[in-house]
Amino acid sequence: MTSGQRRLSAVATAALVVSLAAACGGDAKPGSSESTSSAAASAGSEGGQLSGEIKVDGSSTVAPLTQAAAELFGEEQAQVKIPVGTSGTGGGFEKFCAGETDISNASRPIKDEEKAACEAKGIKFTELTVATDALTVVVPKENDWATCLTTDQLKKMWEPAAEGKVKTWKDVDAKFPAEELKLYGPGTDSGTFDYFTDEINGEEGASRKDYSPSENDNDIVTGVAGAKGGLGYFGFTYFEENADKLKAVEIDSGNGCTAPSVEAAQNGTYTPLARPLFVYVSATAAKRPEVSAFLDYYATNISTIAKDAKYIPLNSEQEAKLKADITTLKSQG
């Protein structure tokens, strides 16, 4: 061996040793990780340790809520595993109605054909409203003309008939400058897209197609912030995190202009773009002690959970309804 080769093989050996160590760590770690120690610490506070796995899938918009709930719940019940998938609202319902998941996150109510699929498999479920989101229409900071838009103006921009015709802001309203209108929005698989098209264009899924769709809302942020005539829509959280770059447009649905805010979404004045976020629970799963405990925890701590996940908490009526719904669900069993 030359010295070069020897050095190389020494490096490679070191690499192998490190990777082996990592692999061995992998064998030893499960079961003895932080979860066990925190379980020991908090054991007894709940009167008994539950175990098991609660499978959750569905909307990536609602996932942070259930994940935040799972994190908080894990501090009390560390042996209960709650993997949260993000297959989207539709993908989540597909698995939920095949009996593969216990809880399905959804950013829109279940559709009739999905209901039928659940019924065919004999899966009974309950819909729970867990938080509110204010779909926010955003423009870049330098846009000084669009402070408030009516739902009709939004429809003019987004309806299928606008495709190829409404190209500048002037086309939307003669008072606006002739700045090029650049539209950004979520992709057609998204529950946000379904909700927006339903409320603004009057038909779910009906939208002009010549806008820039993105599955990642951060792309919409970048796009809108970078174009003077840009406009896009997404969940309130994305606006809050990017309020330095973007301006939220007030919405006028006939009762005057309302800016998206926690209060407006909670008291119902931010219409029509304040939307409920749902969690669907299978009735069979709800009978399992760990799922039942998780739901209780979810309901009791819902405002903390919503705040942690950066969503708008339910108002007191909605919160009372959530608790009542969970009680009803459990009494069914």
């Binding site: 490679a12 690499a15 994940q67 998938g85 993908g91 969940g235």
Partner: protein, 296 residues
């Protein structure tokens, strides 16, 4: 003079045309290499710079967290990835190498079914990974009822890398000179003894390199796991092959679509970890090749 003038003019002719072309060719070669290296370097510099604030032990000591993005880790993803890759290696490598031995040492290439087999393996290597995801979801997760577990993920990824393992192992076995086999057979060894004691040891460097490159490809896959419904937010490490899991590429994918800036940094740090695991695996491949390489 007349005799000498011919070679001299030939030299002059050569020196007129060649250096320029040769230079151009060399520049073209270097440029191609530079493109690959510059982009790799840019990528590494970018992710390390972006992820630097989070490149500490909390990254692998903590579990992912929605509530505390500034201290969230990727432990479940690291272990998920190691489990998947480990199990994939256990399943895909022996199967792939045995298949390659059959195709190289036993298969009669004049038979139509062997040729069909070869054609299919080459085609399988080119099938997009999302298609394997659909296959895994339909057949392994649902029909075989393995659910969304490590086992399902590892079987799917094994199928994905199997053609690559077979093709690279075949190349390595083919590179062993026939004289080695003939010598062994002439000394009275059976075909199996020849393969086991001569051909396989001689082709280990090639097989190992190919296998590790195939596994390195598997480690970066996100598409089949998205299809298979692997969870993106998992706060526990896998405890066995029937456990739910997440993998690093999926976690990265979910982090970058979160609104908070902290998750973008976390995603960059996770990419650095993924690259480090990849580089480790590739160094092992290089080491194995150097360690066992023989020249004939």
């Amino acid at each position: 003079m007349a005799i000498l003038s011919t070679p001299r003019s030939a030299v002059q002719l050569a020196s007129k045309g060649r250096p320029l072309k040769e230079h151009l060719f060399r520049i073209a070669l270097m440029a191609s290499l530079a493109i690959a290296l510059v982009f790799l370097a840019l990528l590494i510099v970018y992710v390390v710079e972006e992820g630097w604030p989070r490149l500490d032990s909390t990254l692998w000591e903590n579990q992912p967290s929605i509530r505390r993005p500034e201290t969230a880790g990727i432990q479940s993803g690291i272990f998920g990835t190691l489990w998947i890759i480990g199990l994939t290696a256990l399943m895909a490598l022996p199967t792939g190498i045995l298949a390659a031995i059959y195709l190289e040492e036993y298969a009669d290439r004049t038979k139509w079914y062997n040729r069909l087999l070869e054609l299919n393996i080459s085609n399988l290597a080119a099938v997009p990974s999302i298609v394997y995801g659909i296959l895994g979801l339909g057949i392994i997760a649902r029909w075989m009822a393995f659910g969304f577990t490590i086992m399902t993920g590892a079987i799917t990824i094994s199928l994905l890398v199997l053609p690559i393992v077979i093709i690279s192992a075949r190349e390595a076995i083919r590179a062993v000179p026939p004289s080695i086999r003939e010598g062994s057979l002439a000394l009275g060894a059976t075909q199996w003894q020849t393969i086991y004691r001569q051909v396989l040891p001689a082709s280990i460097p090639g097989i190992a390199t190919g296998s590790i490159l195939a596994l390195s490809r598997a480690i970066g896959e996100a598409a089949p796991f998205l299809m298979l419904g692997a969870a993106t937010l998992v706060r526990f490490n896998p405890e066995g092959v029937w456990s739910s899991f997440s993998v690093l590429p999926l976690q990265i994918y979910s982090f970058i679509s979160r609104p908070q800036e902290e998750f973008a940094i976390l995603a960059a740090a996770a990419i650095v970890v993924l690259l480090a695991i990849l580089l480790l695996m590739n160094s092992v491949a290089i080491w194995l090749r150097n360690r066992y390489q023989k020249r004939w």
